[in-house]
Symmetry: C2
Subunit: 257 residues, 2 copies
């Protein structure tokens, strides 16, 4: 058994995506790597888990010298299956990504990449999700690779508070132009949906989700601000969703039967 | 145009589930109801949205005198489509459920029911998700109906703080034995997964997700405590996942390139 840190790697773009290869490249010298990733793209899956059908899990030879598996489920399923059926010890670190496209601000809610990291944190595994703000398949991951290695080293040596993971987003700029890494809060932003209405060959309507991202948060301590100003954004994320500040308001209600 | 409050109703068990019928029954006197719900069960979908295929949306006549639509997407898709394509004004309230089964503590993360309510909150619509701690198809929703009406009335008259929704869970007990409604925090609990490994007729392995729910939170201010002690639990929920308390820890790291 290896004494090196055990690093579990997953993503939501699927096991063949350039982004996950970049992540493996980034951290392969930091420990023993095991990959358990979706066998097909799972973007926008949020924290979906598969409960009404069974899952497949197959060993691959896609990564030279690295144990890797593809799974028919969601990113959260991959983490659950890895922990229960693949790994022989608890991993020291779960890294998810590198996502092709931003998971900043409200995107954390919809992101399969981030949900894998949330799932690992629920399991007590220190975790981070990485995203590059570039949707291109052949995006340049060189800056994101440097960032992922730096963050992974810090988590391995410094740990993370219980129940907290990191949402790391890397702007689409040249490595030479990056200003640094900023610890931020999640910006208040949202997607303004506009469904594109079309007709199929039988004349029946169908709808494609499209939308415009709107940031209505003027703060300079947010992830959106950091990314727009040449910084990598790091948001500490928690899965305790309790809105403690709202309790007083609701306690004033008349809730007697 | 009606002056009555506009109430959008959805769920994750699908438009024909007894739970959504119970929710309609609970609030039909409080306003004008429009139903946009999944055409099939969507349990465990978390905050999944449909981005790689188009959606269908069809009017139904399942509810006498109430406008209702079934959608091929997830609960979050239903809310997005309702807002963009179905409703002619912003709803005053979104109610999701009544779910067949608990969405207390960590289940809020996996729940399609709750994600619909989160999505509506992102859209600026006051929202609540309701769940009955009884998975039976023919469960007795009579107590949950009383609770849903009471909570809906309070939201309509008292509002909710911006960015906050309610996660309401009703225990599986007789109405006569209910002790009241408790405002709670999300308990620290998790599912300990055990995948059931089987072989298909071709000898290929597959895995079913099973698990045991473990509550390791001893507090008497949690939703799990409330439900176990005869109370309805109400947890105020937020979609800003920033773990502010963790910032100091990470700010101590060496994050220089």
């Amino acid at each position: 058994m290896s004494n090196k840190p055990l690093i579990l790697i997953t993503n939501d773009d699927g096991i063949t995506a350039p982004g996950i290869k970049a992540l493996v490249e980034a951290v392969k010298d930091l420990g023993e790597i095991v990959i358990v990733a979706p066998d097909s793209p799972q973007s926008g899956m949020g924290h979906a888990i598969t409960i009404t059908k069974p899952l497949r899990l197959d060993k691959t030879n896609l990564y030279d010298g690295i144990e890797s598996y593809q799974c028919s489920g969601t990113p959260a399923d991959c983490v659950k299956l890895a922990v229960d059926k693949v790994l022989h010890r608890k991993p020291d670190l779960l890294l998810s990504g590198i996502n092709h496209g931003s998971n900043s601000s409200i995107n954390v809610i919809y992101s399969g990449t981030m949900s894998a990291a949330v799932e690992a944190t629920i399991e007590g595994i220190p975790s981070a999700g990485f995203s590059l703000c570039n949707y291109a398949y052949n995006a340049d991951f060189s800056l994101a690779i440097i960032v992922a290695k730096l963050i992974a080293k810090n988590i391995l040596s410094g740990g993370l508070p219980e129940g907290v993971l990191l949402n790391v987003n890397v702007p689409k700029i040249e490595t030479a132009n990056i200003k640094g890494i900023k610890i931020c809060r999640q910006a208040q932003a949202k997607w303004e949906e506009e469904f594109d209405e079309r007709s199929d060959p039988n004349g029946r309507k169908y709808y494609w989700l499209t939308g415009k991202f709107v940031n209505y948060d003027k703060g300079n301590d947010t992830d959106e601000w950091a990314l727009a100003n040449g910084f990598v954004s790091v948001v500490p994320v928690q899965f305790d969703l309790t809105a403690h500040h709202a309790m007083a308001h609701i306690n004033n209600w008349n809730l007697n039967f």
